[in-house]
Amino acid sequence: MGPTHVNRRDVLKRTAAAGLFALPAVGALSSCASGGGGEKKAEKGTKSDKNPLGVKEDAALSVYIFNGGYKDRYAQFVTDMYGKAYPKAEVDQKATEKIATQLQPKIVRGRPSADVVNNSGADQMNIGKLVANKQVADFTEMLDAPSWDDPAVKVRDSLYPAMQPMGAFGTDGCYQLNIAMTVYGNWYSQRMLKETLEAEYPKTWDEMLAVCKKAKDKGIHGWSYPGGHPRYMLFSMYAMFAQAGGREVVEAMDYLEPNAWKHDAVKSVFEAFEELVAKKYVLTGFDGPQGHTEMQTAWTKGKCVFVPNGSWVENEAKDTTPKGFGMTVGATPSLSSGDKLPFGTLYSPPGEPFIVPAQAANVRGGLEWMRMMYSKEASVNLFKETGGIPALKGAIDGMQLPPGTDSAQKAITAAGDNIVIPFFKEWYGELFTEDYNKVMGRFMTGDMSTKEALDTMQKAADRVAKDPDITKIKKV
């Protein structure tokens, strides 16, 4: 047995060493010490019909893709397109799960190592801060350039609306562009609804309660949600806020107006869900970090009818979905006949964000890469690789679509102009990922009343409004 006594000096040394662990952020910080400076930037090439953005033909291009549910093959297709269009350019694509870790320090130093970045995933860079710090390039010039497939149509007009507003951050520019449409709503199984319950999709909340009751009589829960990620509830609640109270209500949330969360329309939606909880229609549990997967598995096994989800679920739940399940998304039911927006109003923002760093070595190349991303062939390939609905209007019309994507596509068409997007979720992330998440965690287990929930949300929104560290977006 070796000597085991420990003297005071050892204690001090260990204390100092252990103190390091108490500061996990310090190491990361030291690598992003603020600084500036630039490297050689690619000069502008000559503009032509084939090269409307004036890309320098032999300038290297570096692409960084978030290696998540979409993988990176859809992007490699575009990168290869770029290589073919500019054979003199050296093109390179990397995929990572740690976007911020890999790229943010270099962006902060003004020497970004990528020209196009798919800023997505749990480790994404805070886009509001990037915009406020002028670290991302404006896409306006690209949006006004002719589209890849048809020179007569601008890129802007070839895409679904809401692309520019999603990237505006209170300016008239566009600093972030998304490539796929996400459809949120109440996802269900056609077979479950039509055959097991012999019901139609509920267009009003009363019908919704009736379907849930019917399900309960058969021993099936009407609803479920991932207990580990209770914020999923917004996917089913949000369009209802807008339906019940009109666009002013959800805009008030976006602009952090006083008492936005205490509006009667918001209250009525919360009360509607409170009733679901009170009547024990909700299948709970699923509370680990993998809760969403567990919930989806229970759902595809027929343990519950409706789940709040987004259009990625079809791909994510692919392995457990039985044949003939008939995965479908339904728009949120109307609460009453006094609703301001009709049934069919859809929470459907463009998703999978891309940025071009303002200090990138090849900004024009980055913009050009995005223009190619919005081409017909890249869009079709995106759909084939990922199942996502491309942002290019009508890109996958007439193709054989899986049921979930098909219903999502139809829901977008049916919604027309009645698309609503919670910008507060993009601008003030913590309000959604932390505060709303926490409130719903207690609300959905019946541990918190509507009044408490709304008071807590309003308090959180007021806190964000007052927080000097959060850049506020003003109404334009």
Binding site: R14, A18, F21, P24, L29, V108, E434, T445
Partner: protein, 334 residues
């Protein structure tokens, strides 16, 4: 050394500084024959060996610390500009309910986790070294199979924290976990351990922290207990002391320094507990301060995040100082 060579006045201080980098043969005699030159020579010798590690330490440990403390007083958000804003971040923290919520959790862990872990660790260590039956004239012996236990207890220490957190996340799973599965077969409906009540979440976290660290303290304490001379235990035995009395009157006082070190170490680990909580716990149920810090960091509030880090550092230091003061008395040499 002859006295006539000694200068009337001691050499100038600057000469001494210069001598620190000069080889002896170029050092002026006035310095070389000074009494203090020996001390200088000794430390110069030591510093020569330590120069490289010290430089590394300064660059990679000390300077980030100082930078972090500086950033805590700025509104830095990742941009090229960091404005000095005085104590604004600390005022904001003081008024931030989320900070207090997370800190109450962290402090609870800081107080409870070391007590539970160390008591368990001491109990197991005592059973391993001295808890067994007396055999063939041996004054003390561990329980049967103690050498095996010592290895088994250490297993969690070998696993990466992330794996521990993932595995326990599965065990605590409400619908499919080991615990609720067991309760189910007994006809009891298990609660939501992780995503439900705060109290249950706290208990779950404590369980995992204690489970994963107890093995280390079993090994640490059994080493300390093994170093106690056997004749002390024999004497206690001859005086008719039972196991309990022996432990509290003999063993514990003799290993108190080790216990104190362990306490500080465990306290700091409990104060951190970042990885376990981040991986295992849904953030809406419970948060520790380092997780709250991480979230601020993720939102690009680097200034505020580092301010929280500085407070955590202060908490660790205060905790260590308090524990080192508690029951500070002379050590018995053996």
């Amino acid at each position: 050394m002859s006295t006539d060579k000694r200068p009337a006045r001691p050499p100038h201080l600057l000469l001494f500084l210069a001598a620190a980098v000069l080889p002896p043969r170029f050092t002026p005699e006035s310095v070389r024959y000074d009494r203090r030159y020996r001390t200088l020579d000794k430390y110069r010798f030591i510093a020569g060996f330590l120069a490289i590690p010290l430089a590394f330490y300064a660059v990679f440990v000390v300077s980030p610390f100082l930078q972090a403390i500086y950033y805590a007083f700025t509104d830095w958000s990742g941009g090229p500009v960091a404005n000095f804003i005085g104590f604004d971040n600390f005022v904001k923290m003081w008024n931030d309910e989320r900070f207090w919520d997370s800190t109450v959790t962290s402090l609870t862990l800081l107080v409870v986790a070391p007590v539970v872990t160390l008591v368990l660790g001491m109990f197991f260590a005592y059973m391993i070294t001295a808890g067994g039956r007396h055999r063939r004239g041996q004054a003390i012996a561990g329980v049967a199979g103690s050498s095996l236990y010592k290895v088994v207890y250490f297993f969690p220490q070998v696993l990466s924290v992330a794996i521990v957190a993932v595995v326990w996340g599965r065990v605590f799973n409400t619908n499919a976990g080991l615990i609720n599965g067991g309760l189910n077969s007994l006809g009891i409906k298990g609660p939501a351990w992780l995503g439900g009540e705060y109290g249950l979440a706290l208990i779950a976290t404590l369980t995992v922290i204690c489970w994963s660290f107890v093995g280390f303290y079993v090994v640490l304490f059994s080493a300390a207990m093994g170093a106690i001379p056997k004749d002390i235990h024999e004497a206690a035995l001859l005086d008719g002391a039972g196991r309990g009395t022996t432990f509290f009157r003999v063993t514990l006082p003799l290993i108190r320094d080790t216990v104190r070190t362990g306490w500080i170490y465990m306290g700091i680990q409990a104060l951190d507990s970042f990885a376990i909580v981040l991986v295992m716990m849904p953030p809406h149920a419970m948060k520790v301060t380092p997780v709250f810090l991480y979230e601020r960091f993720r939102e690009g509030q680097f200034g505020y995040a580092t301010a929280i880090g500085v407070v955590l550092l202060l908490l660790s230091v205060v905790f260590s100082l308090i524990v080192m003061r508690v029951g500070d008395r002379d050590r018995i040499e053996y």
